[in-house]
Symmetry: C2
Subunit: 414 residues, 2 copies
């Protein structure tokens, strides 16, 4: 008997998470003999628990519609930050998921998300298996943070990196116009892994003087050394641009800007961070006294679909397609991952890695890709990053603005 497929999106959105969704839908629709309906759950696992389920296989009459979806930022199906309890504690919820899967004749579940989502997907697959229901579950990676293990890089990262490098390039041009000493501190996302902040280095590949300094969560931050670094750069340049990760920490493990934080945590127990850029701005003003400004790249890092990396976009779509192929080939409890075959020419393979080895593991920057002084990155890092931002694939526009796809979210009754 043919089974249906359900797909959902979870965690923070990216500029290409809908490319992966497109890949899943499009590939599933290529196999009408094996897959019945293609459903989407709204707001991730929450949509399954609450049976907020929509039809996806009837919303894309043309290739143009798929193309528009792929150029639309953020999670078209909505997202969630809902953490499933452990199966021992949350039996009711797992039983509910299983019940919904049975009711909707689901045989395939594709979950597009980051570390936490891979954990959720893995637990659900395990529970279903233990309760005699074979639901094949596949993870499709997604995170601008690039911190998933066992994959060369993550869908969504390349576009965020392109946005960051482009913005740094433009901010540096803007900062360099007055004949006075000045500093710009650009605060970039990344709680524990510094990949996004490291990507600022690419502005130099485009000939910019910036950023002269890069601070990452992987290296303990030393305030005195930081001020010395800034002073040394100001000797050499009128304008100094610093890229700093929101997650930089002192040697004792506390966040640099902790004193300015509210101490709030999100549903996963992560500290809610903001403000290291502003903190360093005030520090420089007080201790060095030159003109200084902080800029927070904020949500545009993950939402700027108008600056998608074509490479990232195409890979993200392929990841979705490969996920469906893997499901049909009988795989389950795996995540699609990228294996880099070569840099010149840039070539990747799509592989499968066990969900349980991905769940809750954070892949950080190797120390040897960070400069010995801990305030920049190495040439190896540049070689790693550069292929990921290649290709401009400008979004369809109308009236001078990007056109976004609007999913019909009418919930289906079963």
């Amino acid at each position: 008997m043919k089974k249906n497929l359900i797909v959902a999106q979870s965690g923070g959105p990216t500029a290409v998470i809908n490319s992966s969704l497109r890949g899943v839908i499009q590939e599933a629709m290529r196999h009408p003999d094996e897959i019945g309906s293609v459903y989407g759950a709204l707001n991730g696992i929450q949509g399954i628990l609450e049976e907020r389920i929509i039809r996806l296989d009837n919303q894309f009459p043309t290739a143009e519609a798929f193309d528009l979806l792929a150029h639309t930022p953020s999670s078209a199906l909505g997202s969630c930050r809902y953490k499933m309890p452990t199966p021992e504690k949350g039996d009711g919820q797992y039983a509910k998921v299983l019940e919904v899967f049975r009711k909707w004749n689901i045989g395939y579940f594709a979950y597009i998300g980051g570390n936490d989502s891979m954990d959720t997907a893995n637990k659900i697959a395990e529970y279903c298996h233990q309760h005699g229901q074979e639901i094949r579950v596949i993870g499709v990676p997604k995170t601008i943070d690039n911190d998933l293990p066992l994959t060369d890089h993550c869908p969504g990262f390349g576009s965020a990196a392109k946005y960051i490098a482009t913005s740094l390039l433009e901010i540096a041009a803007d900062a360099d116009v007055y004949p006075v000493k000045s500093v710009v501190v650009a605060e970039i996302m990344g709680r524990n892994a510094g990949w996004l902040t490291a990507a600022a280095c690419l502005a130099r590949e485009a000939g910019s003087y910036a950023p002269q300094l890069i601070y990452l969560p992987e290296v303990a931050f030393d305030t005195d050394q930081f001020l010395e670094d800034v002073r040394a750069q100001l000797e050499q340049y009128d304008s100094v641009v610093i890229a700093v990760s929101e997650g930089v920490r002192l040697a004792d493990g506390s966040y640099v800007a902790e004193s300015m934080q509210s101490g709030q945590v999100d549903a996963f127990g992560h500290k809610y961070l903001a403000g290291v850029g502003k903190y360093l701005e005030q520090l420089i003003a007080a201790r060095i006294g030159c003109k200084v400004r902080s800029v927070e790249l904020s949500v545009m890092q993950r939402a700027a679909a108008h600056l998608q990396s074509a490479t990232d976009r195409q890979e993200a779509a392929r990841a979705g397609e490969e996920a469906v192929k893997a499901l049909l080939a009988g795989h389950s409890r795996m995540m699609v991952a990228y294996h880099r075959v070569s840099n010149t020419p840039y070539l990747i393979d799509f592989i499968l890695v066990p969900l349980r080895e991905v769940a809750n593991v954070e892949h950080k920057i190797p120390r040897e890709w960070i400069s010995p002084a801990g305030n920049h990155v190495t040439a190896e890092m540049v070689r790693y990053l550069l292929p990921l931002i290649q290709g401009e694939d400008f979004c369809p526009t109308q009236n001078g603005l990007p056109r976004h796809f609007c999913l019909d979210k009418s919930v289906v009754r079963q």
Copy 2:
């Protein structure tokens, strides 16, 4: 005897200020019988006072070089925020400018800048005239703020408006993924005039629900009314996006976020502002208690050349060309301005307006283009704005990043 032309850039940069520079240089080079050398002064009027002058007519061997310059953000010649004293008080400085003009055989001076720069240009022209030296002086408008009088709009504004509307569209897509009530406050530049903030309304033309609320400096801000507005929108929408100008003020004239400000003023005596977004974020958190985030679009508003409006770029170049034509036709102490002939089709004429009528006058939004409640804009505003963001003219790229022109700033000795 042939005279030379000198051009300089002043004030805050824009995404198309180099298009105007391109227009000036290119048009000047078309008249070798009338114009000798084309010089550039580095850092505006300061570069003239300090004789930091470069050759411009030998730096563009190809049309591609000009095209690259036009896609490069920020002031290629550098800028200044230097305010000339009144001629009575600063005779030494005016005498110095006159001396430099004589020494370099300058007959034509084009100054690309905003209100303050037009004031400077006007005073210099007047001084030269009074001291028997006929230097023709022309102003080329430039300001993302769109606050110059006597011109339909200003070069630089359309691109900033396009960046703001595009970012709001993407931020709104990002904000709408979780099934919880939430607010995003987007803080947009604009000290006294709300044009940039008003441009956020264009996101709705692309089908977005955002922004539901717009607060401008032209209307006194009422904190209680604001909270009521937000609550009303939260009744209707899960996600509320608010565009707020950095310059919004209470009825008593004080800035809304004044208590959080440092009280610093720049060289022109303007208050240095930041933080109204953060302030309103904290207000909503404390008084409404929903999820809330503030985003400051910051310098990307004026620097994001990768999102230039093609209309803006072309008009800015034409403004530079028209400036040179006006100089050669014998005009002086005038500024090039735009006159809108029609909206459908969109058509503008280039006209000349007296510098003295432009200097230090701020053009604000007419009250009738703001909704009666003072928290949005009218259809008339949309009709005014829409033509200005039309056209994508994507920048040349290399290695996945925009290519920028790099001017040779070797100072010439006379």
